[in-house]
């Protein structure tokens, strides 16, 4: 809880600073835009966070979004699939691919980094190949209003992606922090061997988590595809996995596994998007936006590490003191 609080304070402070320097930050249109971005990035970041809690990593998110994006366009505009079928197909493809990741990682004991790095390369290549490297889009094709609404519409002024994020967050929060699955996930991520000795099917937990992350990536992917309205197979979703990883780590997930929370990931995502927004609003050259993000993440994680170390040292000192007192008595 402390971890989330620290990052939350950082988020609030940043918001205050930005709105003081440039009051446009608080304009409804800016806040709406910001919320839309947070929603779209947050959904897949939660999936990535869960994977990180298993002690794994998922690097193929961006490429998978490009692949799903071009497939979605082809299904809807070229093959004339109905909307429900195309959406389900997208989610199913993502789940099958990530099921593959999960099985390679658990059955063949391959390292998650390698498996998903290969995914990153492979899906990007595949997306470019099946489109002949041509940009695919939805233009003004009729009958896609619902999907356009999901990406660009609002529900009582609240952007739909943000609404979806809230719903998904509530469900994942219950699953992670209140359900048997969540407890097993933390146990597996923290100490897979002890979890196995307690009778937990750790392979199943890990594989299931990758599949869930796949489904969430697909949902984010559909939103992004309609948000941009055109999908360039070479660039779409580039480096998005890094946003997810950064959000999870900022929000208190440990890359060693077994640690993290839905709230933390949400705050992490919000912080990243506020940073991007800040670069715009403060007139910082946009070429610097990655540098700003890198610096803030580094400082955030560094501060957290320093506080942890200090707390540990204080505890050791306390224990020394109490044992010294025991000596005198």
């Amino acid at each position: 809880m402390k971890k989330e609080l620290g990052i939350f304070v950082l988020l609030i402070v940043l918001c205050i600073i930005v709105s003081v320097i440039n009051p446009n930050f608080l304009l409804a249109i800016n806040l709406q835009n910001l919320a839309r971005q947070i929603g779209a990035f947050g959904i897949f970041s939660i999936g990535l966070g869960l994977v990180i809690i298993t002690g794994g990593i998922e690097l193929s998110v961006g490429s998978m979004m490009a692949l799903l994006g071009v497939l979605l366009s082809m299904m809807l505009t070229e093959w004339r699939f109905g909307v429900p079928l195309a959406v389900l197909a997208c989610i199913a493809i993502a789940m099958v691919l990530t099921l593959g990741h999960g099985l390679l990682i658990t059955r063949l004991n391959m390292q998650p980094f390698i498996v998903t790095l290969c995914g990153l390369l492979f899906y990007r290549g595949l997306a470019r190949f099946i489109t002949n490297d041509e940009t695919k889009g939805f233009g003004t094709v009729a009958g896609l209003d619902f999907l356009r609404f999901l990406a660009n519409g609002n529900l009582f002024y609240i952007p739909m992606p943000f609404v979806l994020l809230i719903i998904i967050s509530v469900v994942t929060w219950v699953a992670l922090h209140r359900s048997v699955y969540g407890r097993y996930l933390f146990a597996t991520g923290r100490n897979a061997e002890a979890a196995r000795y307690a009778g937990i099917n750790t392979n199943q937990i890990i594989t299931f988590t990758y599949v869930i992350a796949g489904a969430l990536t697909a949902i984010s992917g559909i939103i992004f595809a309609f948000y941009t309205n055109s999908v360039s197979p070479a660039n779409h979703g580039n480096a998005y996995e890094l946003y997810g990883i950064a959000a999870a780590v900022l929000g208190g997930c440990s890359l060693r596994g077994g640690e993290g929370s839905v709230i933390g990931i949400l705050i992490g995502t919000a912080l990243l998007q506020v940073l991007r927004n800040l670069v715009n609003l403060l007139g910082i050259p946009s070429s610097l936006d990655f540098a700003v993000m890198g610096a803030v993440i580094l400082l955030g994680v560094m501060a957290d590490q320093i506080f942890t170390e200090r707390r540990n040292r204080r505890q050791v000192a306390l224990m020394r003191q109490s044992s010294a007192l025991g000596e005198q008595s």
Partner: protein, 505 residues
């Protein structure tokens, strides 16, 4: 005291850890070229004393003198500079390097000149010399991974010698060695003595101590319990001094006379583990019986336990409970059938130390505290509280991180996990390793109580007193083979040791 010139004098050493007095005014003197055996039960303070000597931990009071000069040993490096070297129970060699690189680790001589490269010629030449001196017929360029455990241990000794060791501390050096390897090591130890190297020899193997020690220093509960000189070192005297009380008192509620005769409630037949595929293991444990498993470290006992519990794959096994054949492919299957394992390494396999006591206890049985897969916190808290109370786990609250508990209480948490079910077979692998005496006897009582309730219990233990005291029968293993099963009437340390070292054939 000895007539030898003392090289090491430790006097009045005390050390407290939070809540425990590990050492209380302990003294130890070692003469030049003397072999001193340091003996005592687990937790008697041997390791703490040696860690202080080695600079790994600091003492609260007392003095350490080398050659009559008071010294402060603040780090292993300083200990090494004073000529103190450790041969650890667990090998501390790096098996991704070759023999010479291990011998010269952290003391690599460099070539002259600007680059300061490692002087490879010199380390291979000097390593070969030392290896020859130790009678180890291995080239110093051999990758360490190709050596046997015993050879790797000799490499550690070579490292100590090449560092100019004057005092070598050997901590259970023979615990994973075969009988002939042990003989070789004892010979080498005597040779070192002849070269005026002093040895502090820590061992549970009484006959080794009898054979090589000039003097035995006995510790008990963190205090000096006495010393025995040369020819008077006998097994009897050492054990009496170590335990300081009659063994029978210790194992209260010891085996009842009327027990089932082992007519198999739980049967394991033709078990072949991946580690020892050429040996078949068959045994049975009666309802309410405690079957001990004795043997040296690496004899394959833990492999048997893990195979039964379904953690390790097996080549072949038949398991039956009350005449009913069971299929166990993974721990879930074992748990379903009421077969549970309290594993050897509690911090790695038994517990999730970062979880709190409640979360650890309820982990395997979580479904029964949930509805629709959502955990019912109230039910869970109540179950954890009851478990904590039932076997007297000393923790201020079930919300305490397991890492903060003492070893004994951690072990009780592992056990509490399984007691939330109704066990039919419970396997304990080294149940009291690293646990203080009080908690130990509580664990023994729990084991006897479970047996009295009709559970079939298997206790794997490397502590002779423990396995003799707790078991109704003892199965003994040697290098993957079940070399015999002793009935209570035939129990003796010698009988177990003979089977454990494979000297029967």
């Amino acid at each position: 005291m000895t007539a030898r010139v003392p090289i090491l004098e430790m006097e009045g050493i005390s050390k407290r850890f939070p809540g425990v007095v590990a050492l209380d005014n302990v003294s130890l003197t070692v003469g030049v070229g003397e072999i001193v055996a340091l003996i005592g039960e687990n937790g008697a303070g041997k390791s703490t004393l040696m860690k202080i000597l080695g600079g790994a931990i600091s003492r609260d009071s007392g003095t350490v003198k080398i050659d009559g000069q008071p010294v402060e040993v603040r780090s292993p490096r300083e200990a090494s500079a004073l000529g103190i070297e450790f041969i650890h129970q667990e090998l501390s060699v790096l098996d991704n390097l070759d023999v010479a690189a291990n011998i010269f680790l952290r003391r690599e001589p460099t070539t002259a000149g600007f680059l300061k490269l490692i002087d490879r010629k010199r380390i291979y030449r000097e390593s070969d010399e030392i290896l020859r001196r130790l009678g180890l017929r291995v080239a110093s360029r051999t990758p360490l991974a190709q050596l046997s455990l015993a050879q790797q241990q000799l490499v550690e000794i070579a490292r100590a010698l090449s560092a100019g060791a004057r005092i070598i501390i050997m901590d259970e050096p023979t615990s994973s060695l075969t009988l002939s390897e042990t003989r070789r090591l004892l010979e080498i130890t005597k040779d070192l003595k002849a070269e005026n190297v002093s040895i502090i020899y820590i061992s549970h193997r009484m006959h080794e101590v009898e054979e090589i020690a000039d003097r035995a220093v006995v510790l008990r509960d963190g205090k000096n319990a006495g010393e025995i000189e040369g020819g008077e070192i006998t097994h009897e005297r050492m054990v009496r001094m170590m335990v300081g009380r009659d063994l029978k008192d210790f194992f209260k509620g010891a085996p009842a006379e009327k027990r089932t005769n082992g007519a198999g409630a739980f049967e394991v037949r033709r078990l072949r583990t991946l580690r020892y595929p050429n040996h078949q293991i068959s045994f049975n444990v009666g309802k309410g019986e405690v079957l001990g498993f004795a043997g040296l470290v690496g004899a394959g006992r833990s492999e048997v336990a893990r195979a039964i519990f379904g953690v390790d794959e097996t080549i072949e096994v038949e398991v039956a409970l009350n005449g009913q054949e069971l299929r166990i492919n993974d721990p879930q299957d074992a748990i379903t059938h009421g077969i549970y394992l309290v594993p050897e390494d509690r911090r790695l396999s038994g517990l999730i130390v970062d979880f709190n006591v409640r979360e650890n206890i309820t982990l395997p049985n979580l479904e029964s505290y949930s509805s629709a897969k959502i955990i019912n916190r109230n039910k869970e808290v109540v179950a954890a509280r009851e478990a904590v109370k039932a076997i007297n786990i000393k923790t201020p609250t079930p919300e305490m991180r397991a890492a903060n508990l003492s070893g004994g209480n951690q072990q009780k948490v592992v056990l509490a996990k399984w007691l939330t079910f109704s066990p039919r077979v419970l396997i304990f692998d080294e149940p009291t390793r690293g646990i203080d005496v009080g908690a130990k006897s509580e664990i023994y009582q729990l084991i006897r109580k479970l047996a009295a309730e009709g559970v079939s219990v298997i206790v794997i233990s490397s502590e002779m007193e423990e396995v003799l005291g707790i078991s109704d029968r003892i199965a003994v293993m040697h290098e993957g083979r079940l070399t015999g099963i002793l009935e209570r009437a035939a129990f003796s340390e010698e009988a177990v040791m003979r089977l454990a070292t494979g000297t029967n054939d």
